[in-house]
Symmetry: C2
Subunit: 351 residues, 2 copies
């Protein structure tokens, strides 16, 4: 960890500038500010209208801070958006390819349980290759999240550079893309605190990033909508993975995680109760993934100069959990709503 | 602009998803959310302590939203940090090289005024190469800002990727680096709204980005502190440029800008009065530059695993305008202060 290395450099072992280990009790703000530390904790209501769309603006931690209600956490569904165009098909093909690589690399198993599963012990199910153990799940999460943090940042970079070099407005995309990347990184930081992986696994992650960062960078230069579609499908897979893991924990097939306490960093990030469990964390992560699914499938339906409909607000999980994304017309409607709400909010402020 | 291109594609000329031109009256949130649109506009006081350090947390627009008091705007001084190490010297050498290239490319002139300057007309001074006209200043600003938006984003990218691939915390740097990049981009968007440059200038910007993005990416891989030092010195130059321009406007030597109204985007970004002028904007930009100067010289004094002292709060302009940066010990002291303030703030919230 950071501390040991600092020590080896001959600096006193404890220094207030040295970052903490992830499994340590969080000293507030080690990873950056949380909006709840900055602003009044009552969320602003952007005016009261007849709109049935949720109008509460969520705060953010670092960049994005999702705090979910129990209803939201449970309203996420496994979805698959059917490909319509050629670009959709290419994007999905790449996801299947990557998924296959993932499964091999992380030793993912998802055989249907045998008819006599009830009578088999967890040990027997594991030996039969029917279910994965905690270690295997974690390895999958870590691999998944270390890759998942790349696309949002790459897309944000390319839109930022484009805005600079073509002297053109960005139309609000960058922030949402960075929020996604930051959110994925926080997933990784959370799971990382459960286990320090060995050198072989680390080398694999390192290599995967080298390939994926460059491949995604080039692909995004060629076709941003295809890339967002790709991420949309990738997030569908992430929702499946976490949904299955939740099922396993709730069925008691991951006993070591049955009442495992939530990592400190996760409690701070999602503002969870003191006695939150790892299961609560995985529910929250799944909700985040369903946001990414919704946002990316929606962005893939837009033209590159369109305004980002999520620059101001996002539908809540009861929408994002049950719908693949906005079509372009829905996005436009949503932007009109947002601007109306915001205008009312400003008018109120000026009173 | 975006609208014309949209029209050419056969889409109706007006579409609510189409981004606005920069010189158009701002429809709120075209470029993203402003914290003032989200949260109560009273800044949170992070507890009341004996600390003499300013403890007001500023809001943000898009990512970073500086709102300056008149005192802050006028407390920015031209500073130069003396090189101490070899790395410092290399960084400064590169800035001088870049500055020289800049001056040539943007036709910058800064001859001392002749003794009889009082009796010469502006026309005569311009012809004699003593002063630049509005057009020349603007060209310099645009070039400067189009480059200035690169380093923060590159540094943020590399820290983000490193955190993902080494499974390690970032310690709060990313957010500050992105704020800088976003802030520079907003400078560009502001100045861009004053003039649409021609194809030759655009080609130059395009080429410069291609070279500079890659060069800075590689350099940051090699030595982050040298790169932050480089940016620190670059920002010293930016403060000089804007200070001189302010002097020119106030001396009446840029008559077309004497009472030129502030661009709409700038009024929204810095939350300025309706009747704000371009001069007010340039004061605000200069203050931003002095923040970048302070932040980068400070980060250059830290070790790469140190906590970012500006993750939670930054000293206000009366500090940042008059000091090159924090030494490592000062940064540590500042982090201790911040954590204390934050703890008190949390304790208060829980009451
Ligand atoms: Fe994730
Ligand atoms: Fe995701
Ligand atoms: Fe700037
Ligand atoms: Fe700057």
């Amino acid at each position: 960890g950071a501390q040991r290395r600092t020590f080896m450099r001959g600096v006193p072992a404890w220094n207030n500038l040295t970052s903490k280990r992830t499994d340590e009790e969080i000293s507030v703000g080690t990873e950056g500010p949380h909006n709840l530390d900055r602003v009044s904790s009552t969320p602003v209501q952007l005016g009261q209208t007849d709109s049935k769309l949720p109008d509460e603006i969520k705060g953010d931690w670092v960049l994005f801070h999702p705090v979910y209600s129990p209803a939201e956490l449970h309203s996420v569904e496994v979805l698959h958006r059917e490909s319509k165009t050629m670009s959709d098909k290419i994007a999905f093909l790449f996801v299947r390819l990557l998924r296959w690589g993932f499964d091999v690399a992380s030793g993912y198993k998802h055989k249907p349980l045998p008819p006599n599963a009830d009578k088999m012990s967890i040990e027997e199910l594991r030996k039969g290759g029917y279910i994965m153990d905690e270690h295997q799940w974690l390895r999958r999460f870590l691999f998944l999240e270390s890759i998942a943090g790349v696309p949002g940042f790459v897309a944000a970079t390319l839109r930022h550079l484009k805005s600079l070099r073509l002297l053109r407005r960005d139309a609000g995309w960058i922030h949402t893309l960075l929020e996604e990347a930051e959110n994925e990184r926080m997933h990784l930081m959370t799971f990382m605190s459960l286990r320090k992986p060995g050198w072989f696994f680390r080398a694999m992650i390192l290599g995967a990033q080298g390939v994926f960062y460059n491949a995604f960078f080039l692909s995004y230069l060629i076709s941003p909508p295809t890339c967002h579609r790709f991420v949309g499908h990738l997030e569908e897979e992430a929702v499946i993975t976490y949904t299955r893991c939740i099922g396993e924990i709730e069925a008691g097939r991951l006993p070591a995680w049955s009442n495992y306490p939530a990592p400190e960093i996760a409690k701070d990030y999602w503002r969870m109760e003191k006695n939150a469990t790892l299961l609560d964390v995985i529910y929250a992560v799944r909700s985040d993934e369903s946001t990414h699914r919704f946002v990316n499938h929606s962005l893939a339906n837009l033209k590159k100069d369109d305004i980002n409909p999520f620059a101001f607000r996002e539908p809540d999980m009861t929408v994002k959990g049950k719908k693949s994304g906005f079509e372009r017309e829905e996005a436009e409607q949503y932007v009109i709503e947002s601007q109306k709400l915001l205008k009312e909010h400003r008018a109120q402020q000026q009173k």
